[in-house]
Amino acid sequence: MAVEAKLEHRTIAGLVRPGASVLDLGCGDGTLLDLLVREKGVRAQGLERDEQAIYQCVAKGLSVVHGDIDTGLSEYGDRSFDYVIFDQSLQQVRQPDHALSEAMRVGREVIVAFPNFAYWPSRLQICLRGRTPVTQALPYAWYHTPNLHFLSIADFESFCRERSVAVLRRVCLSKARTVYALPNLRAETGIFLLARTVAPRDQLLARNRLPVPGNPQQ
């Protein structure tokens, strides 16, 4: 495909090990999965609720299941995938808390990308104009947004802390580049690589991709 992949997708692809198995929750027309298949050789599976998007995924040669994240995730076995991805979909499910814990069960690692509600233009639109923010990352008017939940990067970090979810990597993006300083103010999108918190020794082994002795899962 000639169209260059957008920064967010390239960033997610950078977090994924080649040849891994990936479940993309709310995969839309399959753009991200297609990129991951072509560039990372992943074994891909999508879950998507929109019928037309299913047809587009199938045309790209992707395996995709027509269904809802809120109900469709429970049908996968523990650790069925190396990565479970929420690309702009966690804020759209009815119960993000439950969906994320299910994703942590189904995937060895979880990638979450979401629009940062505390991005400074959003803050200006609320504080100065008194309006519900509409930005490039949050492009919907209040009456037709698919987003059910609005969160900031700081919100998500404390959410992970409270649930003892380990943040393995965090990449924050503005329109065209990575943001390092003051991401909760300056970044439009937050991308997190998460894992269940494990004992320090196991964590070290997992980082080095070594089999954990005596663990039948490996």
Partner: protein, 389 residues
Amino acid sequence: MSLHLTHRRSDAGLGSVGETETQSFTFGSLVLESGEVLSPVTVAYETYGSLSARRDNAILLCHALSGDAHAAGSDRATGRIGWWDSMIGPGRAFDTERYFIICSNVIGGCRGSSGPASIDPATGKPYGLDFSVVTIGDMVTAQSRLLDHLGIDRLLAVAGGSMGGMQVLEWLVSRPGRVRSAIPIATALCHSPQQIAFHEVGRQAIMADPNWKDGSYYGGPLPARGLAVARMVGHITYMSDLSMERKFGRRFRENRRPFKFTADFEVEGYLHHRGTSFVERFDANSYLYITKAMDRYDAARGGMMHKALAGSQARALVIAFRSDWLYPAHQSREIVKACKLAGLDATYCEIDSTYGHDAFLLETDEETHLITHFLENVTRGRTDNIHGS
């Protein structure tokens, strides 16, 4: 409805398979699941397209309750069009320029394969109820013998809707090594009590017909009224309330006779027509045998389906239709769930159709899109198992 259906269709090559003729293959005997032996066994079949030199492009299509081997083209003798004609042919979903398509009549049926109307060699008369009870598994065994005969070891795909979908599931469970991909459409792992109940009404209608005579009616008057009623019940379950509303509304028939118990409404006339025309092409005993085979079938063998699928590496394309209340989408989602748990690479689409169960024969644009791309992908041989090993 805006459809993003982008399957490649070369209009030049798009078309029918043309004239076709049902062939038959007869072999010595078949040990049935019941333990009884059926001998000899005839399987009626048609093929379209040509088998590749590597014999790796064969697709088996499995027909539904009232279907037969004549899936595509126009029958040389009668001119009748095949039951899935719009899906089979050059440039169509089951592209006969790329794939070798096989469709056979199920055993127990009455369209050329061995069934209760066949002659029992022991008596020289039609079997009637002496014909052994057959199962979906037996139907698949007969199909596999046909494949042996045709020199096909492994199928590129096996596809079918309704009862055909049950056979697809049976192929996955009983012969996982012979199936590279499976397309079960508008089907179920097993029948719900509601599905069994509708079938039982049909069977009781046949058996209540005085002409049925415990199944030995051959050569005499047929249990036509009973079979027609059975078919009428069937047709009600194949439509949705919306498709009936659109097709008939409360419109009256012409020449109706008010205040008599004749067919006033168009829907009544339609059902009567469907019932009586069915009698001309279907045997009442076959209706009993086949509906029983469907009711008794359980792909999961009473256990968990994902365990029954353990031996399979096949890719699956599961299709359901939103308005299908006879085989509701949740039954297809059970199939998908089993694929997920078994680690099979599965695609599932619930097509937003208003046609009810009939949709699997009517929504051919959506099915063509899904199946065309799915088969291309299977042919290209992307990973067999999503989770690897």
